[in-house]
């Protein structure tokens, strides 16, 4: 009844059809009792991609050029975390601008004293890959709809080694009524390029996450640009109406629901 064969060669699991039910790494088979070579190397590749995404330098020049081709001005900024190692160990520094960046924004404000309705910020966060792949098309959607609302938009602030809260400082220095930051999320094994959107109404330095709304998992295999901007614009309009953002502003945007897939019956109890 038990497998007494020597531990050579990998055995497949006879429950392969379950793989249709979950993205989890099930039915991998075994070599002896260990992970077979193929599954082992697939995992290592996924981890390598996630690691590379964390350490990929932010190519803000390319992004600025892309924005320029759309007649959009950008501001190249840097957080107080000077390099990746510092950034990873000092979240407090990633939430602040360095002195040069603060000065640049001071000069910009002096030349543009009226401020803006919406400050737009892009930061590498934990995945520059997410920004490289998704920031331009995502921004285009957001800006089209924001302009349709009649809102004035700041230049796009591109921040290296930035964390979410740095957006509040940018917005405060630019004199903006609202801010949205597009930032690379912590890469998962199957999602090295996931972009997050964080929105704050009446931004100022020192706000906690309780004052922000988050839209997560924007990427080709995740939430679409159209859906993300639909939700974001809903939040911004509601925020303007109620003069707040964060936990007291629920995301109740009407979104089309996928028809039942017919896969959700639990076969173990059927």
């Amino acid at each position: 009844m038990y497998d007494d064969s020597p531990l050579s060669g990998a055995s497949e699991n006879p429950w392969q059809q379950l793989r249709n039910l979950t993205p989890a790494r099930i039915a991998l088979g075994r070599a002896g009792t260990s992970m077979p070579t193929r599954a082992q190397l697939d995992f290592q590749f996924a981890h390598a991609q996630a690691r590379d995404a964390v350490h990929l330098p932010f190519d803000h020049g390319a992004l600025a050029a892309g924005l320029a081709s759309q007649q959009r001005e950008s501001l190249l900024l840097h957080s107080a975390a000077q390099d990746r190692d510092t950034y990873l160990q000092r979240p407090d520094l990633g939430r602040r601008l360095n002195d040069e960046s603060a000065e640049l924004l001071r000069q910009h404000r002096a030349a543009n004293p009226d401020g803006y309705d919406l400050a737009i910020v892009v930061a590498d966060g934990l995945s520059a890959l997410a920004v490289h792949r998704n920031a331009l098309p995502m921004l285009q959607r957001i800006e089209e709809q924001a302009l349709a609302e009649g809102w004035s938009l700041s230049p796009v602030a591109l921040i290296s080694q930035g964390r979410v809260a740095v957006a509040d400082e940018v917005a405060e220095r630019l004199g903006a009524r609202m801010v949205v930051i597009l930032i690379g999320e912590r890469p998962g094994l199957s999602s090295p390029d996931s972009l997050g959107l964080y929105f704050t109404y009446a931004p100022k330095v020192g706000l906690t996450d309780a004052y922000r709304n988050c839209i997560s998992n924007v990427r080709a295999e995740g939430l679409s640009y159209a859906m993300a901007s639909h939700r974001l614009l809903y939040l911004m309009r509601e925020a303007c109406r109620r003069q707040l953002s964060g936990v007291n502003l629920k995301d109740e945007a009407e979104v089309p629901v996928l028809a039942g897939t017919g896969k959700n019956e639990n076969f173990l109890l059927g």
């Binding site: 055995s11 059809q17 599954a39 290592q44 199957s190 639990n266």
Partner: protein, 465 residues
């Protein structure tokens, strides 16, 4: 408040209070640098360890690191201290205590009797002057056994929490991971889901599903859906079948407040769980998760180092006679534990301190993709904790948690530990695995069944091909 100094070489190092000695004696880790409490260089760190080694254990009963008046965890620690149990080591310094722990006086029986006499700060202090091999060797002497529907923590055994998470809580997807795990012999510590959606109705549906699976296949294990303790209480009030009551806990009153809990709420959760009388072998039913860095993350560390804060969470845990305590060591990220070396050391410290204080310790041997760690580091920690006699680890498909986006030990990893260290599952579960033809482990080496168990073959047949 006492100040401490130590002269080493040409330098005399001064420390203002016990809190500072403890923090500076802590082996280096990013979270203590982030908090600004770490030693400023390697020399100061060892000098602090030397100063700490000379401090009498009794001193810890006189100098509270967080004032008694300010913090209910301190009050719990002081008020529940058992002076009679403390007596065998009450004459020792921290350094003397390390020697005692390594010697023959410390064995399974004497360490069990000592546990209520130790405060978390004493455990933290001695761990700071112990090497990895000391943390393994002493932990190995200790056994903490807990019972609900099976028996976890017996010598020569190691259990797994089957963690069948799914990004959208699809019942069929969760069931697929559960079956995969069971067929790899995982799930005796519990089948425990981290829900993606935290609504009472979906939590209740998941609990009913887990109860249904455990009953249908007569699996000697217990279920848990990891939701806030107040949600579990509400589910119990509505008659939902709930085995283990979960909560994340920390070592200060303020950090617990940031989790929306206090000792009174935990007591209500414990009482609600007990009222169901669902345990057949025992009534250990609380499941706690902890992890170094949580207090600092909540801005509630009171200037303590993160490892000392962590051990104080164990005082909270032991008050409720838990079934399992899980230090989720690498989940919090590199700003608290930077790399594999720091994660490995922290996992062993937590396991040692928890066991010394009398807790049924397990460890989520894990890392995130922005930490400087990889599968090799996890293999090292798993092997060390296996040798140290850990009660349970996680088991997930292929080490990849597709809901929480982090990596922890796989179903295969547990089998590696069984094969290389001869560790068996909980006895009741072992018998079930054998009865089902999933695997047998007569001589230590797991031998997998060749065929699908008939009951599961039927379930799969429903899916069609």
């Amino acid at each position: 408040m006492a100040s401490f100094s130590h002269t080493a070489g040409a330098m005399t190092y001064r420390f203002d209070d016990l809190k500072e000695v403890m923090a500076k004696a802590s082996p280096a880790r990013s979270g203590d640098f982030l908090a600004g409490v770490a030693a400023s260089n390697a020399g100061e760190r060892v000098a602090a360890q030397m100063a700490l080694a000379d401090i009498p254990l009794k001193h810890f009963l006189n100098e509270a690191l967080i004032p008694y008046e300010d913090d209910e965890v301190t009050r719990l620690i002081i008020d529940s201290h058992d002076a009679a149990a403390f007596a065998p080591v009450s004459h020792l310094t921290v350094g003397g205590f390390r020697d005692w722990l390594l010697g023959d006086s410390a064995d399974e029986t004497s360490l069990r009797e000592l546990a209520p006499g130790l405060t978390p700060e004493m455990a933290a202090a001695v761990s700071k002057i112990m090497r990895v091999q000391d943390l393994v060797l002493v932990a190995q002497k200790i056994r903490v056994v807990s019972r609900f529907r099976n028996t976890v923590g017996l010598r020569g055994r190691m259990s797994t929490r089957l963690q069948p998470n799914h990004p959208t809580d699809e019942p069929s997807g969760i069931a697929a991971s559960i079956l995969d795990g069971l067929l790899y012999g995982n799930g005796d510590a519990m089948i425990g889901i981290n829900p993606a959606t935290d609504s009472l109705s979906s939590i209740s549906e998941m609990l009913k599903m887990l109860d249904g699976i455990i009953q249908r296949y007569e699996i000697p294990t217990q279920a848990c859906v990891l939701t806030h303790v107040t949600t579990s209480i509400e589910a119990i009030n509505r008659g939902v079948p709930l085995d283990l009551v979960f909560q994340s806990i920390a070592g200060t009153e303020a950090a617990n407040a940031s989790f929306g809990i206090n000792l009174k709420i935990l007591q209500e959760g414990y009482d609600a769980g007990l009222s169901l009388k669902r345990g057949t072998l025992g009534d250990n039913l609380m499941y706690f998760e902890t992890g170094q860095g949580s207090a600092l993350s909540a801005g509630a560390h009171h200037g303590l180092d993160q490892q000392t804060c962590e051990t104080r969470a164990y005082a909270v845990a032991r008050h409720f006679k838990p079934f399992l305590v899980n230090t989720v060591v690498g989940f919090i990220g590199p700003e608290y534990l930077y790399n594999g070396k720091q994660i490995i050391r922290a996992g062993l410290e937590d396991h040692f301190c928890g066991k010394l204080l009398g807790l049924p310790m397990g460890c989520d041997i894990c890392y995130t993709n922005h930490a400087e760690a990889d599968q090799d580091d996890m293999d090292v920690l798993l092997t060390l904790l296996g040798v140290a006699g850990i009660n349970f680890i996680m088991g997930i498909p292929g080490s990849d948690d597709v809901m929480l986006n982090y990596q922890t030990t796989s179903f295969h990893d547990a089998l590696y530990a069984r094969q290389s260290l001869g560790l068996k599952p909980a006895p009741e579960f072992e018998a079930w695995l054998q009865h089902m033809g999933i695997f047998t482990q007569a001589d230590g080496r797991p031998r997998m069944g060749n065929n699908l168990p008939p009951a599961f073959r039927q379930a799969l047949a429903q899916l069609g091909q």
